[in-house]
Symmetry: C2
């Protein structure tokens, strides 16, 4: 199961009961936190997120609306006596900022806190069932999007057929991986004759803050869901360029060019009390667009 729960869908200044960027990506039973604007821990309580399941936090960039809640959350984990390791990924000098604040508070954490400084595209977490990688976006300061991918599941053995073909059980692991079998008579038993197709792993992509930039399309290609920022409506596209942000239509164009299945939009400017126009404008270009609503979980 891969899913994303929105904790904050607003840009820098909180407004209209919308909060700065934060979301929970659930994959393989783990809660991954993506960005952590001020008040994220309060949003987690409101939406009953199991904080104890958070072992990895990914910070896209060091504009405050994406990380000012991080030190408070780490502090709270400490006060609640969390024990499991916590891995924090983000650009430099995130580690310095957090460590300085923990030091002056004389805080000792009851868990191991590991910082992983991101400075280029690449794989951040590689587990048997999933991976997380990052890619640089085009923002005013160093900023990264995150790709959450379930790995293709192993093929399933068709036991009846496999026995019929007299394949030894110690070759089953290789069958799961998709290999063919050659028996003692030198006959080829094709993998698909003795296994069932596995379900394809899903992909969710958090595109972070970025101006419209088609060079990002390859990173997004074919994803099941992408979350793309839409700070402004189309009529403010000049402002979007100037501030390294995107408009409703630009987000939709990226979704279209990358042939993704679904687009979630968020990171709305505080100037907008109503959001319905964002969805309307985006759908003119990419029909399967939804506004990312705080507290809602989207199944990928």
């Amino acid at each position: 199961m891969l899913a994303v729960t929105i904790l904050g869908n607003n840009s820098a200044v909180p407004a209209f009961d919308r909060h700065p960027t934060s979301q929970i990506v659930t994959m393989d039973g783990i809660n991954f936190l993506v960005d952590c604007g001020e008040g994220t821990q309060i949003q987690m309580m409101k939406y009953k997120i199991r904080r104890a399941k958070i072992s990895h936090i990914f910070i896209s960039h060091l504009h405050g609306d994406h990380y000012f809640g991080l030190v408070g959350l780490i502090n709270t984990f400490g006060l609640l006596n969390h024990q499991q390791d916590l891995h924090v990924f983000g650009p430099s000098p995130l580690q310095e900022i957090i460590e300085l604040q923990l030091k002056v508070a004389n805080a000792t954490l009851p868990f191991q806190l590991y910082f992983h400084t991101i400075n280029k595209d690449g794989i951040l977490v590689d587990e048997s069932k999933f991976e997380v990688r990052c890619f640089r976006t085009n923002h005013r300061i160093e900023c990264y999007g995150f790709v959450f991918t379930e790995k293709k599941k192993p093929r399933k053995i068709n036991l009846e057929k496999a026995r019929e073909a007299e394949i030894p059980a110690n070759f089953y692991k290789k069958l799961e991986e998709g290999l063919d079998y050659i028996n003692k008579k030198n006959e080829l038993i094709k993998n698909e004759e003795v296994t069932f197709e596995s379900s394809k792993g899903k992909t969710y992509i958090f595109c972070a803050d970025t101006k419209y930039d088609e060079s990002l399309v390859p990173h997004l290609r074919g994803a099941d869901i992408i979350y793309h920022e839409t700070t402004y409506l189309d009529n403010l596209k000049d402002k979007a360029v100037e501030r390294f942000h995107s408009t409703s239509k630009q987000a939709a164009l990226m979704a279209k060019k990358a042939k993704v299945k679904k687009l979630l939009i968020g990171h709305f400017s505080s100037k907008y009390a109503e959001l319905v126009e964002f969805e309307k404008e985006a759908r003119e270009i990419f029909e399967n667009t939804e506004i990312a609503v705080e507290g809602v979980t989207y199944q990928v």
Copy 2:
């Protein structure tokens, strides 16, 4: 007018819809912010505090629940294009922490931000109508309480009597200051014969985090209202000592010994869902005690 509005009355971990420490002291038409836990800017919006009127911020100490909302608030002031100077008072290295975060975000503020490092007891702001001073409390790390005092107002001239006594108008200023007058016949006209008593300036004291320590009594003496922390109920007084905090009864004892007029209690541990016991225990020792309720303004 001197008043305090509570924005957060909880200790470190937000819970039960209670928030970390923050309050607005209103004096001479200015909003002074005292401490700024995470989410303070959101609390300000909720309770319709006029952010534009905030020119001075006082941070008692560098435990996160007292300042993690500060950088976000400063950032928001910038995004909202505030123009007036902002003065921030707090212990070292608050300035370093805030400046580092502004620097990495590539943020330029449209107003002048002045840091004033506190490292001893003394006067922080001295204006004609009021003053703010600080005193060191007894906490785990360097921590300061803040005393807000309206200066005694000038005496009011009793015009009829002053004319009767033939006091020249150019001496009226001195009459307001309380001086007597000697007329041409060398007769003493006592000040109280020709002026009315002025109203005494009021005093509000934010006592910050502290363990019970009677050496603080002189700082609190005679105040109209003190806000004192009561992290724990009386049965956890050992824990209070260990963590450099106070209990309900200890706060009340301080109020009693310092002969203050009223006690507000707050900074409740997240372990307490209900707060009524705090008030009950404190009132056994000091009757005029109230729980500081978020969103409520207390007139001094």
